[in-house]
Amino acid sequence: MNILVCVKRVRASGGTPQLSADGGGVDTRNLAFTVGPHEECAVEEAIRIAGDAGGRVTVLTAGPPEADEQLRYAISMGADHGVLVDTGDTELDPQATAAALADAIRTLEADGATFDLIMFGNESPDAGHYQVGIRVACALSRAMVGGVKGIDIDQADGRARFRREVPAGVEVYEAALPAAVGVKEGLNLPRYPSMRGRLRARKAEVRGIQPEVAPGTLRRIRLRHPEEAGTQTVVLGHGADAAPAVVDLLEELEVV
């Protein structure tokens, strides 16, 4: 049961992104980077499945050379291999990203790798196009289910069941392996990497792939901050005198 997880290097949450001078991007000085929460769950799930069923977990990213950090993070959690498709510093559109990933997967498969399941985060926390997973699955002619919050593998049958929450209840899909899946946060509680894992990741070898990327057709024109909503602090009172006002407010908020 070999699993491939595709991840994206994105800025960590917290703070207001500072736009670069031309408004074309985000000023990345002093920023921490991570993989999105959906993808962290994907990595965690892959490690669990491979741990139960036996098999290897490969983590793949298309991005700048610095995305090596995210691959090693996944390895420190327990993934076995990392593959970096170096697409340079310019962010690609979903079409180009998917093409680069699909090409890389074909390359890995040509080299003898097999992936029973290809996992994606449902969408990236920064661009949020909801496209890359579907495009890759499509390019590789695999079944794809998005929005998944539960995965059961039936290895004997070569099938997987995917659960996802909908307003009316839970939908369950079944697909033959190999398949692809887009997962959502809540699928599991991702582990923190152990210290030993961190050291393992430092020494792990990350395979680099130099892609030939055709530029996508989607272009970002500019970023801007929304109008500031503005918050105001109202002092309800001091000490015990504040109690009635607090109660009123809680009632108003329908908390009590």
């Binding site: 917290g14 703070g15 000023d27 921490a32 152990s194 210290m195 050291l199």
Partner: protein, 844 residues
């Protein structure tokens, strides 16, 4: 507590609500200040500075008395606020070298009166059962080590300050500008309105340089990264149910610490590469992901430390379900010498710095600074923390960055008391530098100046002096004792005593003060009578308003309305700030800094007069040119101000010459001295051996603000009528019964238990014959203030203040050094020198 509108006027505006600003505001209110404003650009209670992410533990013992005293005062305050949890702490040694360092720490603990104990690996494992005892050689156990909550302490201090006085606290208020007029603070412009004030305190941690710059002042520090991680959950720690149940471990050899933090183990490091930041590049509150001073963790820098931590705490850390849950690059402040930057900035009157302070010193710094701002002096001597100690060259970004890069890994390092910096050297060179280099000078640095400490060219003297039977020219057998030292120093000393030596003293600071009001001004500044005849040399204490020492220096009456002030290289910047700050506001006296215009060559020894008379036509005979006078003489084409004075106890002069003629002066003296066997001698002679044989006190060692001229036997017998700064305190000290006496002691037996001859280096405790600590009636401990050879008196000398009952010549005591005790004898109590007690040589 008024948290709404800012007043239009304030007596003081404190910028920064970290532990230092909060403490300061409380203590200012306590000292009776009214109309205090505290602002911070961040929100309360955690505005986002270093206070908010510090690891919050305190080990009280430091080799520095000043830092230890500030720490003890802070612990007392934290405890009083109920935010101190005593956990105990152990510094462990993995190496033999560190074992020695822990023994040295033990001496400092005894000197400063802190309960501590050297313990075995087994005992460490008893106290902290999770450590790998196999790699531990020795532990230094401090039962009083503790963790504190500085944010809660700050909140309580703000509250208490508001209870006492009129305090306005304004969070999320940014300083936009600090306006000055004629070098004095007049106004603070903030995002919440302008405040007129004459006093602003910059307690802004890593942002301090930015804020000070608005007023035109420098606070020489750089933000620098300290990495830390939290690993957990660890069931054994979680089971304690408290924040900290086990002693904190400092793994000194790996430059790391590990402390319990609830269910996690926090691991911090000072071992990674120095990572410096620019104060202008710290992210804003809005942009910061965690906080402006908690920057993204750079994992590769920490990886080697993880291995070290796993080695020591593998039993609880090396588990797959113990994860790294939190990891940051935390910013802290670092000055070029690693000390705090406290006091009024020399550039702008009314602008105070309260920066580069650790959590362990914060409350104490607040209290001391409040005393300083109120009374002009603080209970704890702060001369080594005084921001005015930095010369202009030491305030440059190049210097700050170089020294921070070098100093960061010394935080947990083993730093020899004489250790020299490697970076940013050669900033200031005397005109003799080229000659000194050619003579193989070993340069030590002071204030950026390169000063020869000894000369390899004098190595041949070792044999000569050994043949003459001088023991002191033997090498010291222990590497630590002879590090940054050479027996050549003692050979140079003996050559000076027998013949004559030339010593580069160009690091002296010189300022001329002149004007119609200068006599009154000098009377105010110095203890000695300033109204002396022209040409008279005056050696005098300079006191702080409380009567404690600020400095000791030489003053020459050059003319009716002109004096020259000459002071040591280490204190020149501080003294200049003090003399400038006290100039009369009516302009009747002005100060000109001549430091860069004047070089100084010392010429001392029984043949000094022969050498000098060979190069000048001026009369330098004893009848004409008397001791303690100065006059202009001519040497070749060089106009020289010659001072008949000595810090080494021999006949001779300081020759002050125009800087650009210094090289010529050196060559003339060297040539004329050759027939008399002249040797170049270094500061090892000037500052230690020659000085200590004469019992001369050194500023910062024997002379601190905690001692008065009475204790040091340096005050004049007759007190002048004129007022001077510190007079009241000084008179009070004279009226009291004598409490302590500065003494010179000799080491009677240098052999340790293995028979190796050891030499204390300074800072060690003096003990009674029964091994008890000695403390005077004011609580001041007896410790070695200076240590060094006395080659001409045939003894190794220690200086120390002793309570009167112990300050009896012939009294036998002990000194504790590297875990062993050595017998010592009080050789001199008071000012009378061991060598040439009647000063006949000097006055010949």
């Amino acid at each position: 507590m008024n948290t709404k509108t800012l007043p239009e006027r304030a007596d003081v505006v404190v910028v920064g609500a970290g532990i230092v600003g909060n403490s300061l505001v409380y203590h200012l209110a306590d000292q009776g200040w009214d109309n205090i404003v505290l602002i911070d650009k961040g929100p309360l209670p955690d505005p986002g500075g270093s206070t908010g992410h510090a690891s919050n533990f305190i080990f009280p013992v430091d080799h520095s008395k000043e830092i230890t005293d500030l720490t003890l005062d802070s612990m007392h305050q934290y405890a009083k606020l109920g935010v101190l949890t005593t956990s105990g702490g152990i510094e462990i040694a993995r190496t033999e070298e560190r074992e020695e360092e822990l023994r040295r720490r033990m001496a400092s603990a005894t000197s400063w009166g802190i309960d501590a104990e050297l313990v075995s690996a087994a005992r460490v494992a008893e106290l902290v059962p999770f450590v790998n005892r196999d790699i531990i050689r020795l532990g230094f156990w401090t039962p009083s080590a503790a963790v504190v909550d500085p944010l809660q302490a700050g909140a309580l201090m703000r509250e208490q300050a508001s209870d006492i006085g009129n305090v306005t606290i304004s969070a999320q208020t940014e300083v936009l500008d600090i306006e000055t007029e004629r070098g004095e603070v007049t106004k603070v412009r903030t995002s919440a309105g302008d405040i007129e004030t004459s006093t602003v305190v910059v307690a802004c941690g890593v942002w301090s340089p930015r804020i000070a710059r608005m007023a035109g002042a420098t606070i020489p520090l750089t933000p620098l990264v300290h990495q830390m991680i939290d690993a957990g959950p660890i069931p054994e720690l979680a089971a304690t149910g408290v924040e900290i149940a086990y002693p904190i471990i400092r793994d000194m050899d790996t430059l790391m610490y590990e402390r319990q933090n609830g269910p996690d183990l926090e691991i911090g490091s000072y071992a990674h590469r120095p990572i410096l930041h620019d104060p202008d590049d710290i992210p804003s509150l809005a942009a910061a992901q965690l906080s402006p001073t908690q920057l993204p963790f750079t994992a590769p820098d920490f990886d080697p430390q993880m291995e070290d931590a796993l080695q020591l705490f593998g039993s609880i850390l090396d588990r797959e379900d113990v994860g790294v849950r939190h990891a940051i690059n935390g910013l802290l402040s670092f000055t070029p010498d690693g000390g705090p930057a406290l006091g009024e900035t020399p550039e702008v009157r009314g602008l105070w710095s309260a920066a580069a302070v650790w959590i362990k010193e914060g409350p104490g710094v607040g209290r001391m600074l409040a005393e300083w701002m109120t009374h002009g002096a603080a209970e704890i001597d702060l001369h080594a923390a005084d921001i005015a100690r930095f010369y202009p060259n030491q305030r440059t970004p190049a210097h700050i960055r170089a020294r921070a890069n070098e100093g960061f890994n010394k935080i947990y390092g083993i730093v020899h008391p004489r250790e020299q910096w490697e970076s940013a050297r050669g900033a200031r060179r005397s005109p003799f530098y080229a000659r000194e280099q050619a003579l193989g000078a070993e340069f030590f640095e002071v204030g950026g100046w390169e000063r020869p400490h000894w000369y390899e060219s004098n190595r041949h003297l070792l044999e000569e002096m050994a043949e003459a039977g001088h023991q002191s020219v033997q090498d010291r057998p222990h590497e630590w004792d002879q590090r940054w030292w050479s027996p050549i120093i003692n050979a140079e000393h003996l050559a000076m005593r027998e013949r004559v030596a030339m010593i580069d003293l160009s690091a002296f600071a010189h300022f001329d003060v002149a004007g119609p009001g200068v006599v009154d001004y000098m009377q105010k500044m110095i203890v000695a009578q300033a109204d002396r005849p022209v040409g008279r040399l005056i050696y005098t204490p300079v006191l702080a308003p409380n009567g404690g020492f600020r400095s000791d220096l030489t003053v020459i009456r050059l003319d009716d309305d002109r004096y020259r002030v000459i002071t040591g290289g280490s204190d020149g910047a501080r003294d200049r700030a003090w003399f400038s700050r006290n100039l009369p506001s009516d302009g009747s006296a002005t100060l000109t800094d001549l430091t860069s215009a004047v070089c100084t060559l010392g010429l001392w020894g029984p043949r000094a007069r022969d050498v000098l008379s060979a190069v000048t036509d001026d009369d330098v005979s004893g009848e004409s040119f008397k001791f303690a006078t100065a006059r202009h003489i001519t040497i070749g084409t060089i106009p020289v101000l010659a001072l008949r004075v000595s810090y080494v106890g021999d006949l001779g002069w300081e020759l002050h010459a125009p800087f650009e003629q210094g090289l010529a002066l050196w060559d003339i003296i060297a040539e004329a001295g050759a027939p008399y066997g002249i040797v170049p001698a270094g500061i090892g002679v000037y500052g230690t051996t020659g000085r200590m044989e004469k019992g001369y006190r050194l500023m910062g060692a024997e002379l601190t603000s905690e001692y008065t001229p009475v204790d040091a036997d340096l005050g004049p017998r007759k007190i002048k009528d004129a007022d001077f700064i510190g007079k009241e305190g000084y008179l009070r000290a004279r009226e009291h019964e004598r409490i302590a006496v500065m003494c010179t002691l000799t080491v009677d037996d240098h052999r340790d238990s293995l028979g190796t001859r050891r030499f204390p280096q300074g800072g060690e405790p003096i003990l009674t014959p029964h091994g008890e600590r000695i403390v005077d009636r004011l609580g001041r401990p007896s410790y070695v203030t200076s240590a060094g050879s006395g080659p001409s008196v045939g003894a190794y000398l220690l200086m120390a203040y002793l309570p009167v009952e112990h300050a009896v010549e012939g009294n036998r005591l002990l000194v504790q050094y590297m875990g062993e005790r050595y017998p010592v004898t009080v050789a001199r109590a008071g000012r009378t020198p061991l060598f040439d007690p009647d000063d006949t040589r000097m006055k010949a």
